[in-house]
């Protein structure tokens, strides 16, 4: 809570000269760039995600299953890494356009974020009942009319959610825009904070960014609350158009492969290619330490966040009116908040707190304890918790919602103890959600850059920080080994999640 109050209260601080300087010279630029970036990403991910989802939901073509699966793979690619890769490629291949500009950043970020829209749109399309489509056909509707009048309006809440998530991620992006040299809010915050050493102004900018983010969240929730389609799904069989002609099949496959090739295969193989040449220099003890740092940190923090999520979810279930439930509603907005904002919101208050403690102890007891919170794992883990608690708690609470209260009551009426209800009923039913929640957080932590970059303890490196640092020093091919490791680390859980969620529903 403290970090939010701090950000909110920052507007009451004195606006210093830097603030006026920023307002006069760069803020407009930051604002315009950030808005163009997030809107551009929204538009691109909307088209890529919806079109691929539409084809893989309703048409039959060869390798459909494989393609629908791989279309999610760009989730393993942090945007800054594919930006690094493409800059590397375009430096070597002279006829490729330079991507160190706003359109370049939009394309880079969209290529890795479209899976959000794809997965949500696809889920929504597949839940639409077969009868509706058949009925529309009987009433003489063409595929285009069906698409615009039925599929899209019904999938709108899901698509809006996917697009908003992408737009917010784009707004929160630090690595890509910093690397491509585009001044945005996030880079501006860091520049003000570290370059001008002005935490207050940086916080005020964070507050502004946060306001924009909340406007996005508000828009998304507005679009959701209007919709109350209570459509029950009875049929298991899914609607699909008659198998398209061979030429159309090739066109469909081509369209679906495009984002996959550019968002996953080209960067992955380029990175692999580079890392083969540099790996001998890169694989030293230091690098192995970085890998194990990343794995241990991601694993244990994901576990911690998981435990907190389970606790929170159960409190919400059994005491829906408690203060904690309301409090959690605020906390779980965390995912919407850019990592850079969380970083500043965590560091500054804790640093102040540390100073206060030190002052107190040294004046009263003549002791010096140094830094207690700031610059330690505590702040790093705290930051992660704020940012990623949403991810796992939403997953788990969706799982728990599907276990009806009546199930608990039935078990109780049969004389089963509460402990056994959890062990024998809830755990087996929630296994997948818990597992998925854990993996999602794990992947996010492996990929996360700005938060880790700022909050990590001195001399503590992770793969994402390492890759970004090397790339920023124009050592792109040196960065490749770390980048490849990130992708591989993310690939294992992402494959598991895809298998778990989609495989079970037999929808791929």
């Amino acid at each position: 809570m403290v970090p939010f109050i701090y950000i909110g209260s920052s507007f009451f601080f004195l606006f210093n000269d830097n603030w006026h300087h920023i307002i006069d010279n760069v803020l407009y630029n930051y604002f315009i760039n950030s808005m163009i970036l997030s809107l551009g990403v929204a538009v691109c991910t909307f088209f890529i995600g919806t079109i691929t989802a539409w084809f893989t939901s309703f048409y039959n073509f060869p390798f459909k299953k494989l393609i629908s699966y791989f279309l999610l793979m760009p989730l393993t690619m942090p945007a800054y890494i594919i930006a690094i890769t493409y800059v590397g490629i375009s430096d070597q291949v002279y006829f490729l356009p330079d991507i160190r500009n706003l359109p370049g950043a939009i394309i880079m970020i969209s290529l890795v974020l479209y899976p959000y829209v794809y997965i949500l749109a696809r889920g929504a399309f597949l839940e639409q009942s077969k009868e509706l489509y058949e009925n529309a056909q009987i009433l003489g509707a063409s595929p285009a009319k069906i698409f615009f009048k039925i599929s899209m309006p019904m999938a709108k809440p899901a698509i809006v959610l996917g697009v908003t998530l992408s737009a917010m991620e784009a707004l929160a992006d630090y690595g890509t825009v910093e690397f491509l040299g585009i001044p945005t809010f996030t880079t501006g915050i860091f520049r003000t904070w570290f370059g001008m050493n002005d935490a207050v102004t940086a916080t005020q900018m964070s507050g502004l960014l946060l306001t924009i983010v909340f406007i996005f969240v508000f828009i998304e929730q507005q679009s959701r609350s209007k919709v109350r389609y209570s459509e029950s799904i009875k049929t298991q069989s899914k609607f699909s158009y008659k198998t398209p002609s061979n030429i159309n099949k090739i066109i469909i496959i081509f369209i679906c492969l495009l984002p996959l090739i550019f968002g996953f295969f080209i960067p992955l193989f380029q990175l692999l290619y580079w890392s083969i040449f540099t790996s001998t220099q890169m694989w030293d003890n230091g690098f192995i330490e970085i890998i194990s740092n990343t794995i241990f940190l991601s694993f244990f923090v994901a576990l911690l966040i998981l435990l907190i999520s389970i606790l929170v979810t159960y409190i919400k279930r059994f005491k829906p009116k408690s203060l904690i439930t309301k409090f959690m509603k605020i906390i779980t907005l965390g995912y919407a908040i850019p990592g850079s904002v969380i970083a500043i919101a965590v560091v500054v208050p804790f640093a102040a707190f540390d100073n206060y403690i030190n002052q107190l102890l040294s004046t009263k007891f003549n002791l010096s304890v140094g830094l207690v919170f700031s610059g330690t794992f505590f702040t790093l883990i705290f930051g992660y918790c704020i940012r990623f608690l949403t991810v796992s708690s939403r997953t788990i609470s969706a799982g728990l919602d599907s276990v009806s209260i009546a199930t608990d009551e039935a078990a109780k009426s049969l004389g089963v103890s509460s402990e056994n209800i959890l062990r024998k009923i809830h755990f087996p039913l929630l296994k997948t959600s818990i597992f998925t929640g854990f993996l999602l957080v794990f992947v996010d932590i492996v990929k996360e850059l700005p938060l880790t970059y700022v909050l990590r303890p001195f001399n503590f490196n992770t793969l994402s920080v390492r890759a970004f640092e090397l790339a920023s020093h124009e050592k792109i091919s040196d960065a490749s080994t770390a980048a490849v490791m990130i992708v591989f680390l993310a690939m294992i859980p992402v494959s598991l999640i895809i298998k778990n969620i989609l495989g079970k529903r037999n929808k791929l």
Binding site: E134, A136, I138, S142, K149, I150, E231, S232
Partner: protein
Amino acid sequence: MNKKLIISDLSLSYKNNNDKNQILSNIYFELDESEIGCILGPSGCGKTSLLRAIVGFENIISGTIEVNGVCLSSSSKVIPTQARKMGMVFQDYALFPNMDVRSNVAFGLEHLAKKERDEKVNYLLDIVNLKKYENKYPYELSGGEQQRVALIRALAPSPEILLLDEPFSNIDTDIKENLISNIRKLLKEFSMTSIVVTHDQNEAFNFADKISIMNKGKIEQTGSAYEIYHKPLNKFVADFVGLGTFLQITKNDSGIFTSPFGVLDDLKFDKSFFKFKNLEMFLRPDDVIHNDKSDIKAVVIEKQFRGAEFLYKLLYNDQYHLLCYAPSHHDHKIGELIGIELDIEHYVIFEK
């Protein structure tokens, strides 16, 4: 009168993991202009597949489907669903949840000019008394209201044939009968050639002019409700439609057929059965009449109270089961011997 729909020798199969699964075989089915036909059969008999073949969702492997003399489906030719001019009411209505009632009804009318379209929608909404709900969304309507919307939505583009897939299965029993006769009246007013698919014989009896009994992908018998009930062509139809029991018939050396109740009258059944030795006779509960004065007695082994009457399950001569309706003031106890007599106009005989 011209035949509106002619289905001849239709077969349909699904390929399921190299396993060919015959769904429909050699179906013949015809409907006159504005006739209401019914496909009645147990679940999984293929009746919905037949509807889907008529609309064009299933490709048939042999035979033809013709409407007004034009072939819609054959093994080599398939006219797409959109061009078939069929109307369909789905079991769970399949109303478009993102559109209000008016837009749902207007969905199939986009080829009309706006004014004409509005007039038609208004007219249809008025007919089913839904004008006041025109701006409501499907989830705000009751099941019966949703069904009426689905019905007029299907009728709006003036289809050649209206197909109804289990249309009454989600309707409460107490309003069902009324609803069935209202919808039947409406379809007749529109002179709408229709096919209803159901597993419920009472719906079939009340709704259709003509009933086809379907089992395991084959049509077993087509006829009026009376014919189906009283002159079933085979044991499946006899057993599936209404209640009844089978009695053993034997032929002695001099060629005389006897049932447990005595000698049978040769005139009351088909000569073609005379050549067989072992036959069975099918008895409806209304063939067995309760008469306290009768000398033939049977033991009550089960009874069901049905309001106006009791349905008694009886055991005759320790081995023959019979069913009998008796007015409900004839309240006999289980185990009691009661008098019965047979009143059969025409024997229903099957080869055993």
